[in-house]
Amino acid sequence: MATTPAVELRDVTVTFTNDRRAVTALERISLTVAEGSFLTLLGPSGCGKSTLLRVIADIVQPTAGSVRVLGETPAEARRNRHIGFVFQDAALLPWRSALDNIRLPLEVGGRRTLPEGAMGPEELLSLVGLADWKNALPHELSGGMRQRVSIARALLGGPRVLLMDEPFGALDEITRDRLNEELLRIWRETGTTIVFVTHSIYEAAFLGQQVLMMAAHPGRVREVVSIQLPEPRNVSMRETTGFIEQAAHLRAVLENC
């Protein structure tokens, strides 16, 4: 018996109407993400990768096609708290401390308790390396620290699918490298499925077991590339010829988009 994939899209099309003009953001996207895997979405701006993520999270409704998350509709998966979402800017509530921001999912949406065995807010704060900062307000934290808090918030309740929308796009390169490694560690420790949107070729290749490459106008799947790197990965692997060749291949595909 085949196991249920974490995410399954079949012929998903999304059309927006702007000023009476219909714009096709996504055209007939089909993809399957196995449970526990790490998929990165890579493509030029306007290729609809953020929209694709929002379709999975039930924020955007597809015009046509079907979406299943762990065998459920996106709305059911959302209500069952199977989905965690990390936004491009951390989207923390500025009046709440780091710890209280992580607790937010327990205060809304009718979920007051954690599932058995799930990590608590304090544990998650330690997982992202901010145990000493639990009472700090967001404006007292650096951009990288804020994003760590938002990752911890998304992980509360142990979601089985973690969707990340260019979470490190606004950070400096050093912070970004460190968070990339940390994210891989968190992925190994939690076993959650991750779908990660980026416009950085190196980030896509370094993080993803598979890279889904998209083309723009209209947004569509160009190619799915499997990345071969020894596990566990670390940042120094990005200087190996194996990595450079795979990144060069991704670049070549992107240039033909």
Partner: protein
């Protein structure tokens, strides 16, 4: 040196104030300005001291009217803003009418309200309330709507209800906007109460201003005005103090981080 700097910042306004008082005193003395035209500052101080009990007896009703009007006007504004944010059609129907009513000067509405509500406390409270209402309504609507799209998406992913979005997200987001309106309202409510007392009132700062003017008692007039503005300043500072206790986060980055 920061210590010396602080002393300068405290001392220089005092020196400036003393200089202006001296110029006022000198002008009255040099040009032999008669006391029913304008009083010398020392006469105003003497009047303040001699008639202190009488001045306070007149400040009390004015302060009560201003505080009641402040409470009624702002509560109504917050309530209407809440309705406007949740029912767009109500906002579209009534907001233009609120703008229209606001454009009528208080001095013109005051006699109407005195005719409607008699000569007691009620018309003064109503005038103070009306004068507070509009700025708070505008700011509160803007504050409740200044929620970032990502925060709304976050609440959606967490399956938050409309009320949870309101209390956990919209209300805290609106607080800096609300307080900047309340600070203005503290001064305008006092003005409203005084203007209300101009029409046929026997007690209050407004009534005393009219009596002193008719009696050419310029020293009493100045002392009365000074009492009224002292109350207004204290009221303003109390609101600012509460604001500092409540809004502790960095509001400049309130919506983006």
């Amino acid at each position: 040196m920061p210590g010396r700097d602080r002393w300068r910042r405290r001392l220089l306004p005092l020196i400036g104030g003393a200089t202006l008082l001296f110029i006022w005193w000198a002008l009255i003395a040099i040009f032999h300005v008669r006391s029913f035209i304008a009083p010398s500052p020392d006469v105003v101080v003497t009047t303040l001291y001699n008639k202190f009990a009488m001045l306070m007896a007149n400040l009390a009703p004015t302060a009560l009217e201003a505080l009641c009007g402040f409470a009624v006007g702002n509560t109504a504004a917050i309530f209407v803003a809440t309705v406007f944010v949740h029912r767009k059609s109500v906002e579209q129907a009534f907001f233009p009418i609120a703008v229209l009513l606001h454009s009528i000067p208080v001095v013109a509405t005051a006699p109407i309200l005195v005719l409607l509500l008699g000569n007691g406390l009620a018309p003064k409270v109503a005038i103070a309330a009306i004068i507070c209402f509009f700025p708070t309504l505008v700011n509160m609507v803007r504050g409740l709507e200044s929620v970032s799209p990502q925060s709304m998406e976050l609440m959606h992913v967490l399956s938050a209800t409309k009320w949870e979005v309101f209390f956990k997200l919209r209300v805290p987001t609106s607080l800096p906007y609300l307080f900047s309106a309340l600070r203005i309202a503290a001064s305008t409510a006092t003005i409203g109460a005084i203007v209300g007392e101009w029409i046929g009132s026997q007690v209050g700062i407004g009534a005393l201003i009219i009596q002193a003017t008719y009696n050419f008692d310029s020293a009493l007039l100045y002392a009365t005005v000074l009492c009224g503005s002292c109350f207004s300043v204290v009221f303003f500072q109390v609101i600012r103090l509460i604001e500092r206790k409540v809004v502790r986060w960095d509001t400049g980055a309130a919506t983006t981080t």
